[in-house]
Amino acid sequence: MDLNYTAEEQSFQQDVRRFFAEKLPPEISGKVKSKKRLTKQDSETWHAILNQAGYLNAHWPVEFGGRGWNAIQRDIFDVEANAAGAPRVVPFGVNMLAPVLMAFGSTEQQSYHLPRILDGTNWWCQGYSEPGSGSDLASLKMSAVRDGDEYVLNGQKTWTTLGQYANWIFCLVRTSKEGKRQEGISFILVDMDTPGVEVRPIILLEGTHEVNEVWFTDVRVPAENLVGEENKGWTYAKYLLVHERSGIAGVGDALASIEHLKQIAREQKKDGKPLAEDALFAARLAEIEIDLAAMRTTNMRIMQAASDGAPAGPEVSMLKIKGTVLRQSINDLTRRALGPYAMPFVSEALDVGYNDAPIGPDYANPVAADYFNHRKTSIYGGSNEIQRNIISKMMMGL
């Protein structure tokens, strides 16, 4: 056991820190830190900077142009990125589709799509969930029917994150109704400019537009856009769930969020003293810090075991549950730290260009909206109930 970074890891951390200090545009980190809305352009700018530096795909294997970063390097990068106020990388292309293409895509698909993921030509979104298929994803109905050299797609996807910015979508579609439900699903790539694709916004409970419905009406897709074999799509989707687990615990985000909360607790006054000195508040904060310190190590233990070749399984589900609940508890305590000023919400104030004075402290406006918005984290990506089912099924031997 050695809980310290090696000299090499320390030097890596210094490099990464220097990169953020030098290359992260202050107007972008300023938005992230003050929780203002990022534009599509902001995400593209940061994507390009990361790509330029070779950090965008540093976790890719060397043979695909990556640096083959290990779990510790990825963790260091995640923590430093969050501390610096870097935007979250939109994961659908570089972290989700790319590993599937590397493992199961054709050489043509790899050489066409991977460079376009990196250079930002294609903004990918994910077409998995359907209105009737949430937790029970294998019940999905959107159909793809082979017609000559094409598939004809009909159906509806939902909860498509940032679909309004995307020009490509990877979909799970039904190509067979025979046999087990999982065995009739295929994985297909769709250019969203194809006639018959329609994106409709879903507005979330706090008023933001980040997810969408995507409708497909007789959408004709070239057969070569099928990834791997027909009816094997479920295997590829599962591969992705198991192999793309780095970051699922959200350690970097949790660390940055708790720093933000501590700052607020120092500035908020209760009976003339900083809220941070209130015994009850301090106890609630301390409990979160205890959980977070343990989760950091749980996360590293699981990630490292996986990179050493041990099969990753239900431990990933533990990270998903613990990570989301812990970050939600930080959001909850942050809202409570504000007192009555958690209530005002001026949505326009989240956009750059709003110049009126804030209502109450300048950090207050986004806090309650964040609290409500982040309720999604225990629902998406396999709800925490589904994660518990996985743990029960795989670890209990019942």
């Binding site: 937790s135 009976d271 209530m343 309650a368 225990s378 709800s383």
Partner: protein
């Protein structure tokens, strides 16, 4: 013991419930919330005609209710419809007037629906403290001159008159030396900045700059307002707790319905025991909240008032948050959308934790009351 309401009170509850069901669906509610005033004057007039404002005040104040249970039944039903009309603001300001025994004409106008009041007590630095009043009222040739800032004044942007607290003596946090004043919202020096709240209501920051008031603006005795403020706070806490219960009722009903109708893995998701047990806990917690509400409503005028009120609000903050979060979680993604109503109920339940003290404020108050006993 008898836990049934009087016939009149039950009729009152039924009447409000029916109105909300028949005339105030969620689309109407959103339309009212997003209108220029942030509520509907048409609906407010109807509520006044139905006697719902009068039900909040006692006969001696010109109303026909005013007991804890009257306030509780009305607000529980209002919570079921997420009603945005300014009941709470008028209850708070009206309670101050009623308890002081003065300004009866203003209170009559409120009950008739022709005058809107708001209660401007909290300040930017006061958090939930009742005695933290930096706003000052100094004697002037006309009577008083007020200077200071009031924070998160509920419905403060549309009120005709404001009940404002200001210090006529003492230091910032002294309980003594605070006075209440009734001032026209359009008086010179009153600057009102309106904004929406996250749960769809309106509030305002109010700056008072050399506001000149006649001597008869005073509500109650000079420097003696703390007892009034505590009464207003108790009544307000009771009201929003009842409102939370009304919202919880709808949240639980909607979630239960969803458990029965949403199918995944070939069965209604309510067949899964993991969800059944959580719903069972939510329903149990709701009964606990109802009991605490009964305890507080029944003790609104007793020496147990503060303990019971704080117990209620702690429970509403604690259990209410859990129920609100579970309503969303057990629905899944659909509850995260603006279009589906349950998220709006969840927002209201959670935001009520930020009014009149959150769960921790009331937990600490209970501890203090215990130590003093």
């Amino acid at each position: 013991m008898d836990f049934s309401h009087t016939e009149e009170r039950q009729m009152l509850a039924d009447m409000v419930g029916r109105f909300v069901r028949d005339e105030y669906d969620i689309e109407t509610r959103h339309a009212n919330a997003q209108s220029e005033d942030g509520f509907s004057r048409h609906h407010w007039g109807q509520f006044a005609e139905l006697g719902l404002i009068g039900a909040l005040f006692s006969e001696s104040s010109g109303g026909f209710g005013g007991a804890g249970f009257d306030i509780a039944v009305v607000f529980e039903q209002l919570g079921g419809g997420l009603v945005v009309e300014p009941f709470l603001a008028n209850l708070l300001a009206g309670t101050a007037l009623a308890a002081s025994g003065g300004h009866g004409d203003a209170l009559d106008a409120v009950m008739a629906g022709s005058c809107l009041l708001a209660y401007a007590h909290g300040e930017p630095a006061s958090r939930y403290s009742l005695s933290h009043v930096e706003t000052v009222a100094r004697s002037s040739a006309s009577g008083y001159r007020l200077n200071g800032n009031k924070a998160v004044v509920l419905s403060g942007d549309t009120a005709n008159k404001l009940v404002v607290s200001a210090r006529t003596a003492g230091e910032t946090v002294d309980a003594d030396g605070i006075s209440l004043f009734l001032i026209p919202a359009d008086a010179d020096g009153v600057h009102i900045r309106s904004y929406p709240t996250i749960d769809g209501y309106r509030a305002a920051e109010i700056a008072l700059k050399d506001v000149e008031l006649p001597a008869d603006s005073l509500i109650g005795g000079e420097g003696q307002a703390m007892a009034l403020i505590e009464q207003v706070n108790a009544v307000g806490t009771l009201a929003v707790s009842a409102e939370a219960l009304g919202a919880i009722n709808v949240g639980i009903d909607m979630t239960l319905e969803y458990l029965k109708t949403r199918k995944q893995f070939g069965v209604p998701i309510g067949k899964f025991q993991a969800l059944q047990h959580r719903m069972a806990d939510m329903m149990t917690e709701r009964e606990q909240i109802r009991s605490a509400l009964i305890n507080a409503a029944g003790n609104l005028q007793s020496e147990q008032r503060d303990w019971q009120i704080s117990a209620l609000k702690n429970l509403v903050g604690r259990a209410g948050r859990n129920i609100a979060e579970e309503c969303i979680q057990m629905h899944g993604g659909i509850a995260m959308t603006w279009e589906y109503a349950v998220g709006h109920y969840a927002k209201r339940i959670v935001m009520i934790d930020h009014m009149f003290g959150d769960q921790d404020y009331h937990l600490q108050r209970i501890i203090k009351l215990g130590a003093a006993a």
